[in-house]
Structures are given as structure tokens and as C-alpha cells.
Amino acid sequence: MGQLASALVTMILGVLACAAYFYGSNALLDWLFPGKNRPAEQIARNLRIANRIRPWLFVGPAVLVLTFYLFYPVIDSFILSFHGRTGEEFVGLSNYQWLLGSDEFYESFRNNMLWLIVVPTAATFFGLVIASMTDRIWWGNIAKSLIFMPMAISFIGASVIWKFIYDYRSGDDPQIGLLNALVVFFGGEPQAWITIPFWNNFFLMVILVWIQTGFAMVILSAALRGIPDETIEAAVLDGANGVQIFFKIMVPQIWGTIAVVWTTITILVLKVFDIVLAMTNGQWGTQVLANQMFDWMFRGGGDFGRGAVIAIVIMVLVVPIMVWNIKRANAEMEGR
């Protein structure tokens, strides 16, 4: 109970301090460079100065936090990638050489590519379809809640759930895994699903699609609701049918949001390793880059140089998406 109280106090203090910073710093700026009750010339000058400083008050904390928590580790990783396992001796490009000669790397690279193609596409597709359909039926909100539900489940929890579905019992024992029970019901042979090379990757991807579809759906549904009614009414008057409206009117209207969702899931896919870790730990040919990196960083004493190299590869992989995103963001700004 004592802990709860002190936790509450620290929570409030932390949040208040944060709010006080924004309020206080802005008030201070207004007090230093008042924009009222001064000669016009001075007001103009003050406003100019204030307008130059204020953005930094707004972005300042974010920039600081981002620099310390993400930017600095990236630089650190980059430097580490040229160093040996302890991160102390300089080894030049040998970590990169090792990577290019490692079969394990090619395997995880291939798998990662599969994940990158399948998961964001499937999750966005299902999300969009479900969002557009649920908006039109009376129990849509209930349906949405249920489909969003997996999003609330931790990766560890989800892995338990799906392990249970893929469970395999040998021979004539009754199957307690749903998938095998269905297979047996339709007269097939039960399989140890997560051990089937290559295809097991897809069984793992299903888990992430199952989780992420809810995310895509919620965001896309909000975007769909943002489409002005007149646009759709006009299309209906023009005699367009439901499918046409969906693909010709609605999808282009929310194209930006689709891109955001797709990007977000792509990035998540690149970083996700919990599912692979919990389901197979990269065995049976399911290794992915993030898990391989974790392996090299922390398993068996750790080799920071090689872990860092894999991290760099992951970051490089995202560069195209990044560039495209940045371009889009810039184009948007110019259009304004």
C-alpha cells in the first residue's frame, strides 16, 4: 500500500513536472519578449525572436530524449560494428566480412524479407477490409472490439495461445491442438507445424498478423470515418456500387493513412523477435535478424561487434521506407 501511495505521488510529480516545463517555459518566453503593450517596432522584433525560440521549447524535450535513448545508441552501434567481441579492440571490417560469409545470416535475411512482405500486407489488407465492412453493420463496434482484442495480448501470451493451437500429439492420441484436430477431422495426417521447414515461417507470421490486424483496423476505420459524406453520396448518385466506392473513392482518400499503417507494421516486423524467440528461437530455419542480433549480443557471453553489425543491417533495410516516408512528409509540407 505504501508503495502504491509513493508510486502515485511520483507519478503525479513526474507528470506535473512535465506539464510545468511546457507551461513555464512558454510563459517565461512571453515575459521576456512581450508581444503586447510595447512600441510596434519592438513588438515586431520580440515576436520574431519569440517565434524563433518557441519551436525549440516545443520540440526540445523530445529531441533530448530521442538523442539520448535512440540516436546515441545508434552511433554507438555503428562504432561497435568495427570492434571485436568486447567492443574494445578495433577490427576494421572483419565483422562485415563474417556476416557475408555466414549461412545463418542469409537464412534470417530471407526470412526477414518474407516477414516484411507478408505481415504488413496481410495485416493492412485485413484491417482495411474489416474496417470498411464493420462501419456498415449495426454490430460493427462489437466486431471491431473482438478483432482488436489480440492487440492487447503480450507477445509471450500470444505465443502461448498459438503454441496451443499448433500443438502436436503423436500417433493415435487425440489432438488437443485445434489445427491438428481439424486436419485429422478432414482425414489428414497431423503435423508438428512449427518444425516444417520454410512453411513454419508462415505459421509464425500468422501470429503477428493476428495481433496487428486490429491496429490497422482501428487506424483505418478512423480514417474512413474522416472521409466527407458528400464524396460518397456523390459517388452513390453517380451510380457507383459498393466495391467501386471502396476502391475508387475510399482507398485513394485514405491512401496516406494506409501508408502510415503499413510503415508502422513494417517497422514493428523488423524489430520483432519475441514471437520467434518464444515459438522456435530461430530453430527449424525460422531465424530472423532481430533474434539473431539478440543471440549475438547476449547469448553465450555476447559478441557486441557482430550484434552491432546485424543491427546496422536492420537499420539499412529500412532506409528505403524511411526515405520514402521522409519524401512524403516533405511533399506534404510543401503542398501547404
Binding site: 508503495q3 502504491l4 511520483t10 507519478m11 513526474g14 507528470v15 511546457f22 512558454n26 512571453d30 508581444g35 519551436p55 524535450p61 530521442l66 539520448f68 535512440l70 540516436f71 545508434v74 552501434s77 474489416i130 465492412m133 456498415r136 453493420i137 472490439s145 478483432i147 482484442m149 489480440p150 492487440m151 495480448i153 503480450s154 509471450i156 501470451g157 502461448v160 496451443f164 492420441d173 487425440p174 488437443i176 485445434l178 484436430a181 493476428w210 491496429f215 482501428v218 487506424i219 476505420s221 478512423a222 470515418r225 474522416g226 459524406d229 453520396e233 459498393g242 496516406g256 524489430k271 519475441d274 532481430a290 542480433m293 539478440f294 549480443m297 537499420m315 521522409i326 512528409a329 509540407m333
Partner: protein
């Protein structure tokens, strides 16, 4: 929203396909839940979809050892019951592992000079002309029809393990500030990046987008090193709540800024421009116009961030450690998983416990989310 009235067939198809998808999406969790309240012996031998039907189980039980024998009517007899206090009906039995279903109930079977008889209710008698000896009781194999049984024992077992309540508070202490702080910071930054003009803005946006992809695992060591230095400087440990709040803030921030900026940039520019013309400062615009308008986005992000932090294991492991007073719920349950790996009843019950809070949060806040979304779309 316009509903197309193009024939009820299409609507029907729509209802059907949504229903199908909903079932597809819910079944895994439903299976988990049903399994978690089933009797553990049934759980491991039959699928959860058979939970309501009587299951046939093949069991083996050791009869009472010879110290329990009594002299009755000229014979030595051991009496007992196989079923314990569970109900069910024995249909076949056997006395050898080679033929566990050899005999019908009621039959008298000879084994090493002893007569063994088993009845449908599980009662058995072992009798012999001579006094029985030995340390071990005979094994009796039996096949029983066991009616469906639901129980909360699995939950009792998981919950009674120490420290779950403590972990619960720890998780809350970590999660709530780690949700609010990044939202505050991100909202201001997102507004500045969307609507304020300053040199380096494009670079910052690019930076945020770039940082989205930094693998979290990479940051752990450099950060923990710095934490140790800072901790030493202030004379506190390196593993504190403030530390983990800020860490979660850092890791959640790129996405928060990215999502919020996209949303805020999409707000109608005229409102902001006219407010500026009216002489409102950016701070006022942010407080009075942007914040209320972006409530749906803030609410959605809050929910997501809450879920991520609550479900996180790695960051908590590294920045909070795993001693008793700091262990979060996911960590506690992972301990359970590690030690009870093969026991589905423990796995299912504990997995369900981990997801209960996020589910409540989601269903509880969903009203706000939906209301926010509606408010946003009405404008």
C-alpha cells in the same frame, strides 16, 4: 455514414464475412480461456472444444499398500476407491500395463495369487488367502468416463504463487507514467513539427522517422552504462522507476511523434491560421485548439503505449531488474512459464491473467476512443 441499400444479399454476405472473421480472430483466445478453466487432467487429453462432452480417460492408480489389509471372512482384503473424490464411471480395467483394458468392471482377476475386482464407481477390492506383503500396492489400470469438469483451481494455483499482487502494483507503477509522459512530450513536438516554421524542421522529421527503426535491443547496453554513471553521481541505484519511465518514453517517442504529427498535420489549416491572425500564441493554439481536436489520436496512442509498456518484458528486465520488489507481471509470469513449461493448465491460466488487464483497459477506454473518433470526424 452512408449504407448502400444495394440489395440485402450483399448486406447478408457482409454480415456473414464479418462474423466469419470475428470468429477466426476470437477462437484462439476463446480456446485459451476455456482451457484455463478445465480440469487439468482433461485438458491434457482432449481438445477444449470437447469441454462439454464426457471424456474417456485411461488412468492408472496405485492401490493401497498391504499395510491397509484387513482380515475379513477368512481372507485378507484391501479396499479402496480409484476415483478419489471426482465423479465418473469406470468402464474397463486391467492389472498389467500390457493390457490396461483387459477386463470389464465386476470381473474378478487373478494376479499373483490375489483376486482383484473393480466396480463401476471406482471401488476396488484386492483379496488373498494369505497375508499380503510388500511395500507397494498393486497398480490398477482403468478406463473411466469422466463428465465435463470446470474448475478455478488453475487460477487458484497461479494466483496463490507469491508476489503476484506486488508485481501487479509494479506493473501499474511502470505503465501509467510511461504512458502519459511520452504523450505530453510527443504532442508538443508533433505540433511544432506540423505547424511551426523553423530551420531544421525537415531534418528533425527525417530524424524521427529514422529513429523509428532503431532496434530496441541495441540501446540497452549504452543506456545502462550511462544509467550507472548517473546513478553513481546521485548516489542511487541504476535501476529506478524514473529510469524505466524515461526509457519507455524514449522508445515510444518516435512512433508517438510520427503518428501524432501525421494526425495534427491533417487538421484543417484554416483554424490555426485564423487563430494566429487573432493574435493567439502557439502555446494557446496548442492548448485550446490542437489538444481537443487531436483527442482521438492521443487516446489511441495512449491505449497503444499502455499495452506496449504493460506487455513489455525486455525493457523491464534490463532497467528494473528482476528482484522481488521490482518484478513486473510479465516477468513474474515468465518465471512461471519457465518452471511450469509443460503444464498447459498453468500456461493457459497465467497467460489469461496477463491479458486481463490490457483487455479491461481496452474495453474500458474504447468508449472514449470511439467518442473521440466521432468528435474528430464531426469537426
Amino acid at each position: 455514414m452512408v449504407t448502400s441499400k444495394k440489395g440485402s444479399a450483399l448486406t447478408l454476405v457482409m454480415h456473414a464475412s464479418v462474423l466469419f472473421l470475428v470468429i477466426l480472430w476470437t477462437i484462439p483466445t476463446a480456446g485459451l480461456f476455456i482451457s484455463s478453466i478445465r480440469d487439468k487432467d482433461q485438458l491434457s487429453v482432449s481438445g477444449w472444444w470437447t469441454a462439454l462432452s464426457t471424456s474417456e480417460q485411461r488412468l492408472v492408480e496405485r492401490a493401497l499398500d498391504p499395510t491397509h489389509q484387513q482380515f475379513e471372512e477368512g481372507r485378507w482384503v484391501i479396499k479402496g476407491n480409484l476415483m478419489g473424490n471426482s465423479d465418473g464411471e469406470v468402464v474397463r480395467f486391467g492389472v498389467s500395463s500390457l493390457q490396461p483394458e483387459a477386463h470389464a468392471v465386476g470381473e474378478v482377476v487373478d494376479r499373483k495369487g490375489k483376486q482383484i475386482q473393480v466396480f463401476a464407481n471406482g471401488d476396488y477390492t484386492i483379496s488373498s488367502d494369505e497375508e499380503m506383503s510388500g511395500r507397494r500396492g498393486d497398480r490398477i489400470f482403468f478406463t473411466a468416463e469422466i463428465p465435463p469438469r470446470f474448475t478455478l483451481d488453475n487460477y487458484r494455483e497461479v494466483l496463490s504463487s507469491e508476489g503476484l499482487g506486488q508485481s501487479f502494483i509494479n506493473s501499474l507503477t511502470v505503465t501509467i507514467p510511461a504512458t502519459i509522459i511520452p504523450i505530453l512530450i510527443a504532442a508538443f513536438a508533433a505540433y511544432a513539427l506540423a505547424w511551426m516554421k523553423f530551420p531544421g524542421r525537415a531534418l528533425l522529421i527525417a530524424g524521427v522517422v529514422g529513429l523509428l527503426v532503431v532496434p530496441l535491443q541495441m540501446s540497452l547496453i549504452p543506456l545502462l552504462k550511462t544509467y550507472n554513471l548517473v546513478g553513481e553521481f546521485f548516489g542511487v541505484g541504476s535501476k529506478t522507476y524514473v529510469g524505466i519511465w524515461l526509457a519507455h518514453t524514449g522508445f515510444g517517442l518516435p512512433l508517438a511523434v510520427y503518428l501524432l504529427r501525421n494526425y495534427i498535420a491533417g487538421l484543417p489549416g484554416e483554424i490555426i491560421e485564423s487563430a494566429r491572425v487573432d493574435g493567439a500564441s502557439d502555446f494557446d493554439i496548442f492548448r485550446k485548439i490542437i489538444l481537443p481536436l487531436s483527442f482521438p489520436a492521443l487516446a489511441s496512442f495512449a491505449i497503444f503505449q499502455f499495452l506496449w509498456v504493460w506487455n513489455d518484458l525486455l525493457v523491464a528486465m534490463v532497467f528494473l531488474g528482476n528482484n522481488e520488489e521490482h518484478l513486473v507481471l510479465t516477468g513474474r509470469l515468465r518465471e512461471l512459464l519457465g518452471s511450469r513449461g509443460g503444464n498447459w493448465e498453468i500456461l493457459t491460466a497465467s497467460a489469461f491473467i496477463t491479458i486481463i488487464v490490457p483487455l479491461c483497459v481496452f474495453f474500458g477506454l474504447q468508449r472514449y476512443l470511439v467518442r473521440g473518433l466521432l468528435a474528430g470526424s464531426v469537426k
